[in-house]
């Protein structure tokens, strides 16, 4: 297969380039020749300025543009960026580094992060193309962890940007969330979080808004109690089955008798986390 250039970068791909000039690859690689007739009538719209407005009503004009009759270029139109460096074509593994860590990205300015995003995006597109082609040829993608690392870097970058946005919002508005909201009870008596919407008029003017159900009628209270009873029954059943499971475990592995039970540990962990959070809040003040 030496004569066939593996454009996709896989070692033994039965490439589409065997088909010859009709295939996409050949078109990508060949010199693009376009022939345009000249002269061309090009439609131009003049910018609307106060001076023009006063002079004439016709703001759209036709101008005649002379173009070259023959235009040649040997360019890939940027499609070569969907493929890896030609040196890596046919390799089983490709040497690569680590993903961008959060602490590293936090050191970078917003402009740097903006540029990095597009670099990572192009690399991701290249790796996705390679993955797709590997699936098509039923072969292993060389160094597939590269894709995971690039995805991780992009997620970290987004997280850093959101952190900065959140900090600014907290400083300027005192709000952590992007859109304010509150907890409400719906007509069935269920608690839900409603994200506020921006309305052009105040609440007392919005008749269609006020016609909606924003709380539950009195007869629903009976059903709320039934729902709570059902939830509690399920909780008791889960706790009971957990105790039966632990009893069986202790029977099989007697050294578990000295250890604490899982529900006791969960309670203690909750208590410790609560105290930790209180200590952190006290430190801030």
């Amino acid at each position: 297969m030496a004569a066939c250039v593996c454009r996709s970068g896989l070692p033994n791909s039965k490439g589409i380039f065997e088909l010859g000039k009709q295939c996409l690859g050949a078109r990508l690689l060949s010199r693009s020749i376009t022939v345009m007739s000249s002269p061309q009538r090009v439609f131009q719209r003049q910018p609307v300025t106060p001076s023009l407005m006063s002079q004439s009503t016709a703001l759209q004009t036709f101008t005649v543009v002379h173009t070259k009759t023959l235009h040649t270029s040997s360019s890939y139109q940027g499609a070569e960026e969907f493929f890896d460096d030609p040196k890596n074509w046919g390799e089983k593994t490709v040497k690569h580094g680590d993903a961008w860590a959060l602490d590293q990205l936090r050191q970078k300015s917003n402009v740097d992060l903006w540029k990095l995003w597009y670099v990572l995006l192009k690399e991701r597109n290249m790796l996705l193309t390679l993955e797709q082609e590997a699936h098509r040829q039923v072969e292993r993608m060389p160094s597939e962890e590269r894709l995971d690392k690039v995805t991780e870097s992009m997620e970290n970058l987004l997280e850093v940007l959101l952190e900065r946005e959140k900090a600014l919002r907290l400083l300027k508005t005192g709000r952590e969330e992007e859109v304010p909201g509150k907890f409400l009870f719906n007509v069935f008596g269920q608690k839900y979080y409603r994200r506020f919407k921006p309305y052009p008029m105040p609440v007392w003017m919005n008749t269609s808004f006020n016609k909606r159900y924003w709380t539950f009628p009195t007869f629903v209270e009976y059903y709320i109690r039934l729902r709570e009873e059902k939830h509690q029954k399920r909780q008791f059943a889960q706790a009971h089955s957990e105790r039966r499971w632990w009893a069986k475990m202790v029977e099989k592995f007697p050294n578990l008798r000295d250890q604490k039970t899982p529900w006791e540990e969960r309670e203690e962990k909750k208590q410790r986390d609560k105290e930790q959070r209180l200590r952190e809040i006290e430190k801030e003040y």
């Binding site: 460096d85 040497k95 690569h96 580094g97 680590d98 961008w100 590293q104 936090r106 050191q107 970078k108 300015s109 917003n110 402009v111 740097d112 903006w114 690399e123 098509r136 962890e145 940007l161 900065r164 946005e165 600014l168 400083l171 300027k172 859109v179 304010p180 506020f196 919407k197 921006p198 309305y199 052009p200 008029m201 105040p202 609440v203 808004f209 069986k248 475990m249 099989k252 592995f253 578990l256």
Partner: protein, 229 residues
């Protein structure tokens, strides 16, 4: 004539939504990696298997690390020492190199009367059947976590007080990169450049900073009043 990818998809089996999203109540972990064909065969939704009871050992009580030298306390290879090659926490399993082996034939072809290639494969050992070795006297020892004077958490043998160091295979990266011996490629950012600080905190938002950098001026818009509810 459909495309090649479409043809392959048609030939492949189709699953219903329930089948594709099915998560069994009990997953049996074995020597097969989760996600592999062998693991799926062992956890066939149409053939539920008996549950295996596994002693819950907490992370702080799990002393054996990958690459440690351990001695086998029970079984056919009792008294022998070997290096830990694989750990499967879900079953409290430890696979020791070259020990507790069974022999099997691979690639047999009864039609052509070919018995196959004999291959030696290591079987897993339970965590309670192996013990870490004290480097000072090469004997199995009870181990616990203790702190050094510098505040470092180390494994210490209770019998002699000797520190058992963490093997390098435990701290090695999954992708096989050794940071000290890595030479940067063309697509890598050099570490000096990656750690350099370019961030200057300001009250301008991300969008505003980009617009000023590019040179786009935001059109002057009359502030619109919104009511949030």
């Amino acid at each position: 004539m459909p495309r090649l990818t479409q043809l392959l998809a048609m030939a492949a089996r189709t699953w219903t939504k329930e089948e594709a999203e099915y998560v069994p109540k009990y997953i049996r972990y074995g020597m097969n990696k989760p996600g592999s064909l062998g693991h799926k065969m062992a956890n066939n939704p149409n053939r539920p298997r008996k549950r295996v009871w596994v002693e819950p050992i907490k992370d702080e009580n799990w002393m054996v690390k990958k690459g440690d030298i351990v001695q086998i306390l029970r079984g056919r290879d009792e008294g022998k020492q070997g290096k830990v090659v694989q750990i499967i926490r879900e079953r409290n399993w430890v696979v020791v190199e070259g020990l507790n082996c069974h022999y099997r034939y691979i690639g047999k072809n009864p039609a052509k009367d070919y018995p196959g290639q004999m291959v030696r494969s290591e079987g897993p050992l339970m965590y309670r059947e192996v013990a870490l070795i004290d480097p000072s006297d090469n004997e199995p020892a009870e181990v616990e976590w203790r702190f050094t004077e510098d505040g470092e958490k180390v494994r210490v043998s209770t019998r002699t007080g000797r520190i058992i160091p963490i093997p390098p295979e435990e701290t090695a990266r999954e992708d096989g990169i050794v940071p000290e011996a890595y030479n940067e490629t063309a697509k890598d950012t050099i570490s000096a450049e990656a750690t350099r600080r370019t961030y200057i905190p300001s009250l301008a938002s991300f969008e505003d900073e980009i617009l000023t950098y590019v040179g786009i001026k935001k059109p002057e818009m009359k502030p619109v009043r919104f009511f949030w509810y």
